[in-house]
């Protein structure tokens, strides 16, 4: 073989070897993320399972770890989830319908879309401050469930809008044309054809948005301004606390027992979130089957 041929062989081997080295590096990087998740979950389970018990759900928080429970936090979370869904779904779905079906391609539409994507990147604590200034003070709702729910519904609104838009966009245009061919006008087509077809996707998006909302502690702290509550809210103007805030409260305490309690609370929260996401994925899969028919 010629001299340059030998050089080529050697260099090729080097390049291939380098490729192998980098393959391992990239693989290790992926493992960092996965390992982090595994260690985190393992840690939470190890610390939290000893503290899991039914009385977690029936007791209020207390200074004594053995008597402390999640009752006020769980009820607050349930209330917040319901109220947030009540506010965010109509506004979000309506916005999505407008943007997908009615909006002309002009500057106003572009402004709205840019706005929504900017709002998605605003830190959650800033939403908390908005809620504090607007709902708690200006509209005088006090530090109530109502103010918290309105704040959270603004926070997750971009998620609902995005998911709903995708669901509406996924409805094949032929479906709409069938409606028009039968003499329906635009709203009839949307009401009778597009929305029912997009409903599973919209539902999936709503569930994902709600699962984001119940994991948020920062905006709720800004609104409710407390972390220790020993009663259950009975109407939307009551004060409240939510599960992530109770976890934060327990984590912040110096005694080791409370760390275990915090881990137990985390397990409860993660189970709730896992169930919600599993439900959303289940819906998404059934939806995909339907649109392939």
């Amino acid at each position: 073989m010629s001299a340059s041929g030998e050089m080529f062989q050697r260099r090729t081997q080097l390049r291939r070897g380098l490729g192998g080295v980098f393959y391992v590096i990239f693989l290790m990087a992926v493992c960092v993320g996965i390992l982090g998740l595994v260690v985190l979950l393992a840690r939470v389970l190890v610390e939290g399972i000893p503290w899991l018990s039914l009385h977690l759900f029936t007791d209020y928080p207390s200074r004594h770890p053995e008597q402390a429970g999640l009752k006020s936090a769980m009820m607050g979370t349930v209330w917040i989830m319901g109220l947030t869904a009540l506010f965010t779904v109509p506004v979000g779905v309506s916005s999505a319908i407008y943007l997908e079906e009615y909006a002309p391609k002009n500057w106003l539409t572009r402004l709205i879309e840019v706005n929504i994507s900017n709002l998605a990147g605003v830190p959650s604590i800033v939403y908390g401050l908005l809620g504090l200034a607007l709902f708690v003070q200006f509209m005088a709702m006090g530090r109530s469930l109502l103010a918290g729910a309105l704040t959270l519904s603004l926070l997750v609104l971009p998620i609902v809008i995005l998911a709903s838009r995708e669901a509406i966009r996924a409805v094949p245009d032929t479906y709409r044309q069938v409606g028009y061919a039968l003499g329906a006008d635009q709203w009839q087509v949307i009401k009778g054809i597009v929305l029912p077809s997009a409903l599973p996707g919209i539902l999936t998006g709503t569930i994902l948005a709600l699962s984001r909302a119940i994991g948020e502690a920062a905006p709720v702290i800004a609104i409710s301004a407390l972390v220790y509550l020993t009663f259950v809210p009975t109407d939307p103007l009551d004060r409240f606390t939510v599960l992530p805030i109770q976890i934060y409260n327990w984590v912040s305490r110096p005694q080791d027992d409370f760390r275990g309690l915090a881990a137990a609370g985390i397990i409860v929260l993660l189970v709730i979130l896992l169930s919600m996401n599993a439900l959303a994925i289940l819906l998404r899969n059934r939806y995909q089957i339907r649109s392939e028919e």
Partner: protein, 313 residues
């Protein structure tokens, strides 16, 4: 039926139909307006954020000039003597965010490269949902993890480490934003057309060379935007740093010390007893406004980079 009665019925039917049509038109118009107003609500939200932050912050800036706020190096609003220099909070935020970036940017990019260029489909289908789980975990959980696991482990390696420190928070925050950096970078790389890759292969390049010298440069705008958006997320993060990084405003670059970020300060004061309307209370809006401007600026720059520098194929 006589022809006269038939005509009357026909006339009635057409009148009724016109009335029904008009009612349907009206319903359509009302519905369209309602939907439009909902869409506009998003603009109102942004306006609301700016307005509510600014109006309360203005009350603060009447007492403390913005120049003093932005350049002062001592943050002590609830101590005596009071001091309102925000730089320690900004430094704390930046310290934790830079540490998070040092973790998330290389790992996120490498993960994205692996998923986009190397991984077979089965592996992708396992790894992507796993990363999405990582992204969906509430941040209090990450705070718990940083405080109860990462800090003690690090203290075994670095005895000088304080319980509340920037290093643990930064590392865990890095893990937290890996999925975001990874998925945005991967989107950018997957968008590069196959023809470019195949041209390089045709010239005899190895997979590594195709990836690093063709795909990544082509997707660079999206990748840089991914970095910026990931950092912006880190800057805005609240619960992780509140739990793990401390409540000590500290103008330092030493990650082993306790610091306080802008977001953690807002939490601290929200839980405190500052009376509504007092200057201490208004500091949370001034800090909030600064935080909002920083993250908004970074997001705008990120989107602009994608728009301006994206290679058109």
């Amino acid at each position: 039926m006589g022809s006269v009665q038939y005509g009357e019925v026909a006339a009635y039917r057409s009148v009724a139909r016109r009335r029904a049509n008009r009612r349907r038109d009206l319903e359509g118009k009302i519905v369209r307006w309602m939907f439009f107003l909902c869409a506009v609500a998003s603009i109102l939200t942004t306006v609301g954020i700016v307005f509510s932050l600014a109006s309360q912050a203005v009350a603060f800036f009447r007492e403390v000039p913005p120049w003093v706020f932005l350049t002062g190096t001592r943050w002590a609003p609830i101590l005596v003597p009071q001091s309102f220099g925000v730089l320690p909070l900004v430094a704390g935020t930046l310290l934790v965010s830079v540490l998070a970036g040092l973790v998330a940017i290389p790992v996120g990019l490498a993960t994205a490269i692996f998923l986009a260029e190397y991984a077979p489909d089965r592996v992708r289908r396992i790894i992507k949902p796993t990363l999405e789980v990582l992204a969906g975990i509430p941040t209090v959980v990450y705070g718990y993890f940083a405080l109860t696991f990462v800090t003690p482990q690090l203290q075994k390696l670095i005895p000088d480490l304080l319980i509340f420190n920037a290093l643990s928070a930064g590392l865990v925050m890095g893990i937290m934003i890996i999925p975001m950096v990874s998925s945005l970078s991967e989107d950018a790389m997957v968008a590069v057309p196959r023809s470019l890759r195949e041209a390089a292969y045709g010239l005899g390049a190895t997979r590594l060379e195709v990836t690093l010298r063709v795909v990544v440069p082509a997707a660079l705008s999206g990748i840089v935007a991914a970095f910026i958006l990931g950092l912006s997320r880190a800057i805005g993060e609240t619960m992780l740093v509140t739990i793990a990084a401390g409540a000590t405003p500290n103008l330092t670059a030493n990650p082993l010390e306790s610091i306080q970020t802008m977001t953690a300060y807002v939490v601290q004061l929200s839980l405190g007893e500052a009376p509504h309307g007092s200057i201490e209370y208004n500091t949370i809006f001034a800090v909030g406004l600064l935080l909002f401007c920083i993250t908004l600026g970074m997001n705008i720059i990120g989107h602009w980079i994608v728009r301006r520098w994206r290679e058109q194929y």
